[in-house]
Symmetry: C2
């Protein structure tokens, strides 16, 4: 299945001789491209807004740096989904694991890059939407520090967790694109300290944790000062639950006016998630906000400048496509246990490819202090060179 939005065909040449000259990119259909409707993966969304007359900030930044836009990519409906199955537009191919999901919600962007249809692609990550498809498709993917990038022209979902990220097949291209979008040079120095999150590796399926071992050993050779610690002493599942309370509340807040006015069409699972957001209690919300505060404190404590934390990006490789909801729901919840820290605490995270379970990719994630996005890119480059 094509990763591009059905019925949308767009190509915009990059500007001359910028640092990204010669590269091609695609944009998730949550980013505005002037003259094209922003569909958001749902058949009733585009009608809500006039066709944008300006490019989203991230799209324009890549064009200005010389990259050429070659298409808009399929997303889970209004970015509510982590597996990449869209009931209206289809499930983009995961070329690294055919018959398995690509991961979502930035499904088409990951698929397009993994298939070699473009060099990089823009995604968004609220609860894991860049990190998960990067892991499942075997790509480099970044969720930048929350609040760092200009999100103008990007369809929001849960603003306190929303970020814009991107994918690449190799570390060099990943670094080139990151330098442009982070507006920062990639530093020469590596992290001085590595923490391996014992709870996160323990939570992953044993085969996945074992598959990540060689990558982890290479990382430990680069950063000899290594310790093992809990990431979430109160429980990965507790952090996951907090994110699963807060994100649908904010998503409902974002989409409520539209949903109430137009009663739009959704896949059942997407509508149910929004309905749950609309019905959350004040008590649940209050608890989840306290837990977010705790998670932020813990991540800040673990990650002073110069330190990075390693976790499996996902607890397992891509599940089969087309599984029934009772099989998918626990998988989605397990993925969220590892991803929730991103949405809760907002630290930058890079997923690195290079491991696989029975031929299907799984990513190793590195997390740093807020603002230390470029340090993670540096580490990814160094790790590729040690391969």
């Amino acid at each position: 299945m094509s990763p591009f939005v059905p019925g949308i065909s767009v190509r915009i040449e990059g500007r001359g001789d910028g640092p990204l000259a010669g590269l091609t990119f695609a944009a998730k259909d949550l980013f505005d491209v002037a003259g094209q409707p922003t569909g958001g993966g749902n058949p009733d969304w585009a009608r809500q807004n006039p066709v944008p007359t300006r490019n989203a900030w991230a799209v324009q930044a890549l064009l200005d740096a010389g990259a050429t836009l070659i298409g808009k990519t399929i997303t889970d409906e209004v970015s509510l989904g982590i597996l990449g199955e869209n009931a209206f537009e289809g499930t983009p191919l995961n070329p690294a694991a055919p018959g398995h999901v690509p991961g979502g919600s930035s499904s088409g962007s990951a698929s397009a890059v993994a298939q070699g249809l473009c060099d990089t692609a823009l995604g968004t990550d609220t609860g894991g939407s860049v990190r998960v498809p990067a892991s499942f498709c075997g790509l480099y993917g970044i969720r930048p520090t929350h609040g760092r990038l200009n999100l103008e022209g990007m369809l929001p979902q849960a603003p306190t967790s929303d970020t814009a990220g991107w994918f690449a097949r190799d570390a060099a291209t990943f670094a080139r694109v990151s330098k442009t979008l982070l507006s920062e040079a990639i530093p020469d120095t590596l992290p001085t300290r590595l923490i391996i999150a014992t709870d996160a590796f323990g939570f992953a399926e044993p085969a996945t944790a074992a598959a990540l071992e060689p990558l982890l050993r290479r990382l430990m050779r680069l950063i000899p000062d290594t310790t093992h610690e809990l990431m979430a002493p109160s429980g990965l599942s507790v952090w996951g639950r907090a994110q699963r309370v807060l994100q649908p509340i904010e998503a409902w807040n974002t989409f409520r006016e539209w949903v109430e006015r137009d009663n739009p069409r959704f896949a059942f699972s997407v509508a149910k998630s929004l309905a749950l957001g609309s019905m959350s209690s004040e008590a649940d919300r209050g608890w989840a906000e306290l837990m977010r505060r705790e998670a932020r404190g813990r991540m800040r404590y673990l990650l002073p400048p110069g330190t990075i934390l390693a976790i499996p990006t996902t607890p397992f490789p891509a599940p089969k496509a087309g599984l029934p909801l009772p099989a998918l729901t626990p998988l989605r919840d397990q993925i969220l246990c590892l991803c929730a820290q991103g949405g809760l605490a907002g630290h930058p995270q890079v997923s690195i490819p290079g491991a696989s379970v029975e031929g299907h990719p799984v990513g190793l994630s590195l997390i740093a202090a807020r603002g230390a996005d470029a340090l993670l890119i540096r580490t990814a480059l160094a790790l590729e060179h040690t391969a």
Copy 2:
């Protein structure tokens, strides 16, 4: 907007010289017609089942009696809806109130009859799906005694409340069709006693209650032994709530396997209703079942053979089409307060046209003892003759 299902064209001539020879009819897209997919108003339902090779019992009964099938009609998705707005197939025209909803879920059947496109049409009624469109479109409509008709080949929703009903523009046609589908002659004698439900008339909008007065006075001339009583001493809203708990639980039970396997597309309001059914507590269900038991006892007490009960079919005429959900939800809940007795207690009910508020129809409903469906048809005939 056409009342017929987009893309489905069907015509089956009735058999020779039966009692319905010369009549045309349409069938709600919840009834099987051999060789046509049964769509159920949802784009993902038809794929669940092979194209039926037999006609539903009610379709075959009308064909055998000589009526000619001329089309399949739009329904609210899997009959979950009371207003007649289908996000996928459109909102059938209410010719009696253009720009207003036709009522649902048997929206297309009511619309087709009201437009004169056929003489009668099959609908289904679980929580009001024949009665409400009959009221809004100015038609005769019947919800027969629960359990009386053979529902083979009809897509179920909530089996303890599901019935098959039908519409007509005039009492004579209504009686002809009813005689065939009830397999019973229409009696010569009228009811001996009339109860006017004071709570139900009090619950209706004053303009609607006033509009029904002339019909009610004609009815009182036909049945001089008239008393005024409460229908639901524990509260119309309490009965409404019981039905609003039980029906989604049963609907979830009916559709769960499909929803969990295929994650189908729905309008938000439909998905939310199913999601609520999936999350109901045992305590809610237990309470609602007790209340159903009370409602059954009350209706049995009120309606010995020979007695009929009069209520407004709906508390108001058809709302405007395209209202936002926060405006629609309370209207739907108010309608349910008057309709819930049907789903809870299963007595036969006929909605009679002839009243209007500012030109928009509202129906007068007559309810009888279980099994006394034909007595209601007799009353409708007599009432038309007194006009």
